[in-house]
C-alpha cells in the first residue's frame, strides 16, 4: 500500500475506516432542543434588556424636566423660598 495519488487504494481504505452510521433523527432533535434552550435564554435576556431600555426612554422627558429645573438657579431659589410642600 502507498499513498501516491495515482493509487486510490489507501484513500479508499482511509475513507472506509472513517465510515460511520448516520445519526438517528431523535438524536439530532434532542441536540437541537438543547440549543433551543440556550436560544430561549438569550431571547428572554434580550427582551429584558429591551424592556429596560424602553422604560428608560419613557422616563426621559420627565427626567429632562427635573434636570432643567435643578440646573435653573432662579427656579431652584423660588422652590427654596416657597418652602417645603410647595
Amino acid at each position: 500500500m502507498n499513498l501516491d495519488s495515482q493509487d486510490s487504494e489507501v484513500p479508499d481504505v482511509l475513507s472506509a475506516v472513517g465510515q460511520v452510521n448516520p445519526p438517528a433523527s431523535h438524536v439530532l432533535e434532542n441536540a437541537r432542543d438543547v440549543l433551543w434552550s440556550a436560544i430561549a435564554e438569550e431571547m428572554l435576556s434580550n427582551a429584558d434588556a429591551r424592556l429596560s431600555r424602553a422604560e428608560y426612554k419613557a422616563d426621559q422627558p420627565q427626567r429632562a424636566v427635573r434636570q432643567r429645573r435643578a440646573n435653573n438657579p432662579q427656579q431652584a431659589q423660588q422652590r427654596r423660598n416657597a418652602g417645603p410642600g410647595a
Partner: protein, 182 residues
C-alpha cells in the same frame, strides 16, 4: 444564505437563525464526534457542541462562508473536555494519553489492510493525524483544517505532508516489522 451572514443575523437580534446553521452541519459534526469517540458519546456530546458554538458565535469570522471548520474546532474542544473528564479530572494528562485511538481501532473492521492502516495512523503524532483525518474524513482543505486547529495554513500543509510521508513509510515496512501480525 451562506453561513457567515446567517451567523451575523443570529447576532443581530435573531438568535434563532443559528438553528439553520445546526441543520446544515449536524450530520457532519455528529460523524466527526462518532469517528473519534464512538456513537454513544457523539449522541451525548452533540447538544453541547451546539450550545458552545451558539455562545461563541460572536467570535466567528463572518467572512468565512462555511462554518464547518469552525464547528469542528468547537467539537474538538468538547471532545477534549470529554476525554479529560473520562480520565482522572485532577490530573493534567498529556494529550497523547487522552487520545482514544485504541477505542477507534477496536471499532473498526478487522480486515488486515484496514488494520494495517489504522495501526499506521495510530503511530502518527496526534498533531499530524489531526490534519490528515480532517482532510481525509471530513473533506476539509488544509486551509480549513488550519481554522479548525487554530494553526497557520502553512503549518497545516506541512503537517499534512509529514503525515502522508510517515504513513507511506510505515505502510512500506515489511509486515513482520509492523503490527499487522495480530
Amino acid at each position: 444564505m451562506r453561513d457567515g451572514p446567517l451567523i451575523a443575523q443570529s447576532l443581530r437580534g435573531t438568535p434563532e437563525a443559528f438553528v439553520e446553521i445546526v441543520r446544515r452541519h449536524e450530520v457532519a459534526i455528529h460523524g466527526y464526534l462518532t469517528r473519534r469517540a464512538g456513537q454513544r458519546a457523539a449522541d451525548d456530546l452533540l447538544g453541547e457542541v451546539w450550545v458552545r458554538a451558539f455562545g461563541a458565535r460572536d467570535g466567528y469570522d463572518t467572512s468565512h462562508e462555511d462554518a464547518r471548520p469552525w464547528l469542528y474546532g468547537i467539537a474538538r474542544n468538547v471532545l477534549r473536555a470529554h476525554w479529560r473528564t473520562g480520565q482522572n479530572v485532577e490530573l493534567a494528562l498529556p494529550e497523547e494519553v487522552l487520545d482514544p485511538w485504541d477505542e477507534i481501532t477496536d471499532r473498526l473492521d478487522s480486515a488486515v489492510r484496514v488494520r494495517a492502516l489504522v495501526s499506521a495512523l495510530g503511530k502518527l503524532p496526534s498533531t499530524e493525524r489531526d490534519v490528515l483525518l480532517l482532510v481525509a474524513w471530513e473533506q476539509l482543505t488544509p486551509a480549513e483544517a488550519a481554522i479548525t486547529l487554530s494553526i497557520p495554513p502553512g503549518t497545516a500543509r506541512s503537517r499534512l505532508h509529514r503525515a502522508r510521508t510517515t504513513l507511506r513509510q510505515i505502510l512500506a515496512e515489511p509486515a513482520d516489522e509492523t503490527e499487522v501480525r495480530k
